[in-house]
């Protein structure tokens, strides 16, 4: 039995004869549990519901009704149209996708290969190289921002999508290499030895054995990096100040500025579009996301 000490204590302190009190107490004892759970869920969910409802209200409703009032028309999607068309949200999302997916592909290909070389291949200096990658996890983005800005400026890359792709790839690599090396460490060496005896070259081993074996891990790592890159503000704000490649986060930050007076509905719709996209992804992949993000944090 794993009855918790917490509940034992409640029985003891509730007084009376414990045996007689036990059965009705079971229901009574569930009340605080339900209340606490309801409170925790409310804290998480209420702001998000308010966001959704707010995106359905007109500007007049926003200014004349209290902010907790329900929208008068629950199917008023006009704000979404304004956000998408006038607010350029569609374009910003496209930009984010243009920066995120190529970076993700590069991170995965380069990171898995490097992890393979660092764990499966035998060569001098591999521990040093792994440490070198690890050191990158510690470096704050601010430390590389200014030289990169200069470099991109002088190579005329400023204003294109390349500064984003290159920087995201490089900043995503340390954690990816580290995580992939950890995964490859768990794969028995004998598998690759057997392949080698059967005449497989090391490239063949990588493509036909190693990569398929860690496919699942690769997906998790890519998912973690997706959130880092998609939600990034610092790098995108720095490198898209000129040009037409503002990502969704930069666009959202500047959203209020575009209209002068705050347009509540469109702004809430813009935030909502951003949130709902992530929510859908989370609905399907939440267990993997939770595993990946927590694994990415406990390192060293």
């Amino acid at each position: 039995m794993t009855t918790s000490a917490l509940s034992q204590k409640t029985t003891a302190t509730s007084g009376g004869s414990p045996r007689a009190a036990r059965r009705p107490l079971r229901a009574v004892r569930a009340i605080p549990k339900v209340l606490v759970v309801a409170l925790i869920l409310a804290i998480t969910v209420v702001p998000l519901i308010w966001l959704l409802l707010g995106s359905l209200k007109t500007q007049t409703e926003w200014l004349n009704n209290p902010s907790w009032a329900l929208p008068e028309n629950l199917l008023n999607f006009a704000n979404y149209e304004i956000a998408w068309v006038d607010g350029n949200i569609g374009r910003y999302i496209l930009n984010s996708a243009l920066a995120t997916f190529p970076s993700l592909a590069l991170i995965v290909i380069l990171g898995v290969a490097a992890g393979f070389a660092l764990e499966v291949l035998v060569w001098r200096g591999r521990n040093g190289v792994l440490l070198l990658f690890l050191a990158g996890i510690m470096v704050p983005g601010q430390m590389i921002l200014l030289p990169l800005f200069s470099a991109y400026f002088q190579t005329n890359l400023t204003g294109t999508i390349w500064p984003l792709i290159l920087t995201y790839t490089a900043t995503g690599l340390p954690l990816t290499v580290f995580m992939m090396a950890t995964y490859f460490r768990a794969v028995p060496k004998e598998i690759f030895e057997a392949a080698a005896i059967d005449g497989a070259s090391i490239y063949r081993s990588f493509l036909s054995i190693a990569f398929p074996m860690v496919r699942n891990a690769v997906f998790t790592v890519a998912l973690v990096q997706f959130f880092f890159i998609w939600n990034d503000l610092l790098i995108s704000l720095t490198f898209t100040s000129v040009g037409d490649f503002q990502t969704i986060q930069v666009g959202l930050l500047n959203f209020t500025g575009q209209f002068g007076q705050v347009q509540y509905g469109p702004m809430f719709a813009a935030i909502c579009i951003n949130v709902v996209g992530i929510l859908v992804l989370y609905l399907f992949l939440n267990q993997r996301v939770m595993r990946g993000l927590t694994a990415g944090s406990v390192k060293g």
């Binding site: 204590k9 549990k33 606490v36 902010s67 380069l110 470096v139 601010q142 200014l146 690599l173 030895e193």
Partner: protein, 294 residues
């Protein structure tokens, strides 16, 4: 066999591209940034050698002092808050809700994957006073308290920032610590209970010491993240009112891009990096001493 696994060319093919990009875009800029600390100017205006001027300025600039203080205050308070709330939730998951906690865990975790900008804008509106009371002020009015101008004073703005970031991250830390709590062997808990340990004694003498390793790694992770706070401040308060909620990261960003001084910006970035390193080493050291003691 060694021919296959010791193949030099294969090593180069596999690790070379990653190392090249990593070196060019992270390692070289770190060194380059160190070089910038001896210059003033920007890539647009051109650079000028300044010797140790930036460092002198760093130590005398009251704004750096203010930003440093804010960064520290934020990092300490938020780390304590995140770990405390996270730990409380984790204990709740493991010992109270048990199997039923899965849905709660998943839901409370969700805000951490949301874009910080989106969350910050939402909280800005939730705590708004003009032109329209936000949800929080409405709730205060309901219980007879007058509306508060949350972003009008440094302390209340800081409070909103802390509330928001704890709201975002508590589920994440709860899951992180939950995994650590699950590793505690049930037999130890059971025997302690049989010996008559109450729930508080159980937490203090068994659960807390045994979850110390995962607590420490969470603290390191939290402090490293909070020292680098940028998105939430920029999007929620934009450093205001005045510059009262400006952390080092934001001050560095302004110095470099609004005032075009890359040299001084790099010097502030260096200060930030050194602090992150020192704090991590310090916590790591003290944790190791603790572990050998046990």
């Amino acid at each position: 066999m060694n021919n296959v696994f010791g193949n030099k060319r294969a090593v180069l093919v596999f690790v070379g591209p990653a190392l090249l990009i990593y070196a060019l875009i992270m390692l070289v800029p770190v060194i380059w940034s160190l070089g910038y600390t001896f210059f003033t100017g920007s890539v647009i205006t051109g650079f000028e050698f300044a010797g140790l001027e930036n460092f002198e300025r760093l130590f005398t600039d009251p704004k750096v002092g203010e930003a440093l203080l804010f960064t520290m205050k934020y990092a300490v308070i938020l780390t304590i808050g995140q770990i405390l709330v996270g730990y409380a939730l984790a204990l709740l998951y493991v010992f109270w809700l048990k199997k039923a906690s899965s849905v709660v865990r998943t839901l409370v975790f969700f805000p951490i994957v949301l874009p910080t900008v989106a969350v910050a804008l939402l909280f800005q509106k939730m705590f708004e006073i003009a032109p329209q009371n936000g949800l929080v002020n409405e709730a205060l009015n309901l219980v007879g308290i007058a509306s508060v101008d949350w972003f009008g004073t440094a302390d209340t703005a800081f409070l909103v920032l802390v509330i928001m970031d704890i709201w975002r991250s508590m589920g994440f830390y709860a899951v992180l610590l939950y995994a650590g709590l699950l590793d505690i062997p049930e037999e130890i808990m059971e025997s302690a209970r049989l010996d008559g340990a109450g729930s508080l004694a159980l937490i203090r003498r068994i659960i807390l010491p045994l979850s110390l390793p995962v607590l420490l790694s969470s603290i390191i992770f939290s402090i490293n993240g909070t020292l680098k706070v940028f998105d939430s401040v920029l999007a929620l308060t934009n450093g205001g009112p005045g510059s009262s909620t400006t952390p080092l990261t934001l001050y560095m960003f302004r110095t470099a891009f609004n005032y075009g001084n890359y040299g001084y910006g790099s010097t502030i970035a260096l200060l930030l990096t050194v602090i992150c390193l020192l704090v991590t080493i310090f916590i790591f050291r003290s944790s190791r001493r603790d572990l050998t003691k046990n």
